[in-house]
């Protein structure tokens, strides 16, 4: 028994050891700390140190300094009280120094525990190519109805830097409770830090036979009189009309043959073309689209933009605060991803809009007024063009009637944190799009309430609007690729290569994503 116990113990220790070695992401913060003169007397400091002098000037010893005798010596840069740089300094008498600050890394024990546990979960699971990308789900918004939660929205899926912070509007299915209150739960279910800037609910009133939809152009539209007899074909020539006819469990995805041809050198785009008879005297139709992105963009983001850069990804993410870097990325991303909506005008296809804001987790339903132009025959043809296998499309419909509708913004009334405490500060921070943000980490969640009012007779649909951005956590596997690390270059990243690596890990990645989307509880 003792022996068994001991062996079990050894196994446990070995497992724990492996766990610790794999979980090697250490959360640190680099900053300054005041240090008293007495602490440094007679020492050589190897980290950067700053001496504050009596006259208000400072000397920075970036390579450290020696504090011995009556002076501090080292190779220093001196700045006066107004922080203008003066002549270099080789040292200063200690009686001119008020105090020091040292720059150092400090380990954040709790975050390290979370990072490490999360990283371990990822590492253990990811023995194959699926390691390239796991999560990209961004803040997920759940409707809370009598304790039962349903996914309603997924905000700013691709806002991976402060300069990309943007507002997303999602149509929700939730309705106010008997007291006229809408309760939502905001969760961070990804390996990301979320910076939440603004959240509100939008109320849209419409007719009983109308469907209210957020428009990618801003505002809301209401559509009615959905066209019957529409036909939808994809880029491989398949008739997918029934697949996208209604909201259900079946959804369109790109034909595997088309994806293979794209990888082998064929066109890398797929498309859906919807054709409906043109109704005379109608100048525009409403396009209703319910879709989500596949994990293609997620895997590209993580494998090509971050994973292959190894530790360079740290610098690259920092560079995203520069307009030029961001512009290059946006140009490359816009040129390869998203969904182009086009309408046929005679023999030519006219660009209507590019849709970019679909996340991989929650279905997003949007509506768009499209010119009802005559195609080569007497029908209206609308085409959605996108990178092969980039989207899952659940519903694609044309409505013969479309109109803009007014909307009412409903601010957050109350916020309750995970410990059931009322949080007025969260309400304040999320009430306006300003420089105050709520920051959440994996596993965080809180509830927000909106006073929508009780109106039994009104037909109302509610949207959720969220603005912010997120910062991706670096995975240990990326850091371990140091030998192969190469800076991300949009120009040298062909679409074909991205599709090839995507197809290689797609099935297992999707299985993993949708079965274990919540890695931290």
């Amino acid at each position: 028994m003792v022996s068994t116990f001991s062996r079990a113990h050894r196994s446990l220790l070995l497992a724990a050891g492996c766990f610790l070695v794999v979980a090697c992401v250490i959360s640190t913060t680099t900053g300054k700390r005041k240090v008293e003169l007495s602490e440094l007397a007679g020492t050589s400091v190897r980290v950067p140190i700053k001496a504050h002098l009596l006259d208000g000037s400072v000397i920075l010893f970036a390579d450290g300094a020696t504090v011995a005798g009556s002076a501090v010596t080292g190779s220093g840069r001196r700045f006066d009280a107004l922080r203008r740089e003066l002549a270099p300094s080789a040292g200063i008498a200690l009686d001119s120094v008020i105090g020091f600050e040292v720059y150092e890394r400090r380990v954040n024990p709790f975050r390290t525990l979370v990072y490490s546990s999360a990283a371990t979960a990822v590492s253990v699971i990811g023995t194959t190519a699926i390691l390239i990308a796991l999560f990209g789900s961004c803040p997920t918004i759940y409707g809370d109805s009598a304790g039962s939660q349903t996914l309603q929205a997924e905000s700013f899926s691709y806002s991976i830097a402060p300069l990309l912070a943007k507002r997303d509007v999602d149509r929700m299915s939730i309705v106010p409770d008997a007291a006229g209150v809408i309760r939502l739960v905001v969760k961070n279910e990804a390996l990301e830090t979320h910076h939440l800037d603004h959240m509100e609910v939008i109320e849209v009133r419409h007719g009983r036979n109308e469907i209210a939809l957020p428009s990618p152009r801003g505002g809301a539209i209401a559509v009615s009189e959905l066209a019957t007899g529409a036909m939808v074909r994809d880029g491989a020539g398949r008739d997918v009309t029934t697949l996208v006819a209604r909201t259900d469990e079946s959804a369109f995805s790109t034909d595997d043959g088309l994806l293979d041809r794209a990888i082998a050198g064929g066109p890398t785009d797929d498309h859906l073309t919807i054709t409906v008879p043109r109704r005379p005297g109608v100048d525009s139709v409403g396009l209703m689209l319910r879709a989500r992105s596949s994990l293609l963009t997620t895997s590209v983001l993580y494998e090509h933009l971050m994973g292959r850069q190894g530790a360079l990804a740290l610098d690259w993410m920092g560079d995203l605060s520069r307009i030029t870097t961001l512009a290059k990325l946006a140009s490359w991303y816009g040129g390869n991803f998203g969904m182009r909506v086009e309408v046929q005008d005679g023999p030519r296809w006219r660009r209507v809009i590019r849709l970019m804001d679909f996340g991989p987790t929650a279905w997003r339903t949007v509506g768009l007024a499209v010119p009802s132009t005559r195609s080569v025959d007497d029908s209206v043809r609308i085409r959605l063009v996108f990178a092969a296998d980039a989207f899952r499309i659940d519903q694609l419909s044309i409505a013969h009637r479309v109109r803009r509708v007014e909307q009412r913004n409903i601010p957050i009334a109350r916020a309750i944190d995970s410990e059931k405490k009322a949080r007025a500060d969260i309400v304040t921070m999320l009430s306006r799009a300003d420089d105050r943000e709520v920051e959440t980490h994996p596993g965080d969640h809180f509830s927000i309430e909106f006073d929508a009012g009780r109106e039994a007779d009104a037909i109302r649909t509610f949207f959720f609007a969220g603005e912010g951005y997120y910062v991706e956590w670096l995975r240990p596997s990326w850091m371990k690729q140091g030998h192969a690390a190469q800076p991300f270059s949009p120009a040298q990243t062909p679409m074909r290569e991205m599709l090839r690596s995507w197809k290689g890990g797609r099935d297992s990645l999707e299985l993993l994503f949708f079965s274990r989307r919540v890695p931290i509880t």
């Binding site: 090697c24 700390r33 009596l54 920075l60 922080r83 420089d435």
Partner: protein, 145 residues
Amino acid sequence: MTFSSLRSRSLRACSVAWLLIQSSCMTSPPPRRIATVDTHRGVSVIVHMIDGPEYYGELLAVRDSSIVVLTRNRIAVGSFAAIMGITVGESAPTDFTTGRWPLETSLGKLATASRFPYGIAASSMAVLLESTKQSAPADLRTFAP
């Protein structure tokens, strides 16, 4: 080879390996990089006064009962009694609000983020006032730039 030397060598190897792994996975930049880009100025703050106005500026120093800021090109002193809260920082702002400060730890954090964490000596204040063409610091309660 004795057992203890074997253990000692293994421990050393493990320690080195462990340190190597650890050092490759830090999530913040190295101190030298931070130090060399440091402007040696104070953090940006928004001072929210009890009677309504807000002042955006640089935190120069923190005293026992007041703060010194450079706002609208003026050196100004704000008494804690007249301040409702202070928003500190731009990229990840932190709010110090009534009821949570002035606590000793909050003041310590604020001071560390200021341009003069050890306070402003009279000679330094004179230099600052000369640069803003003031004879004395303004009072945020009656501040009129």
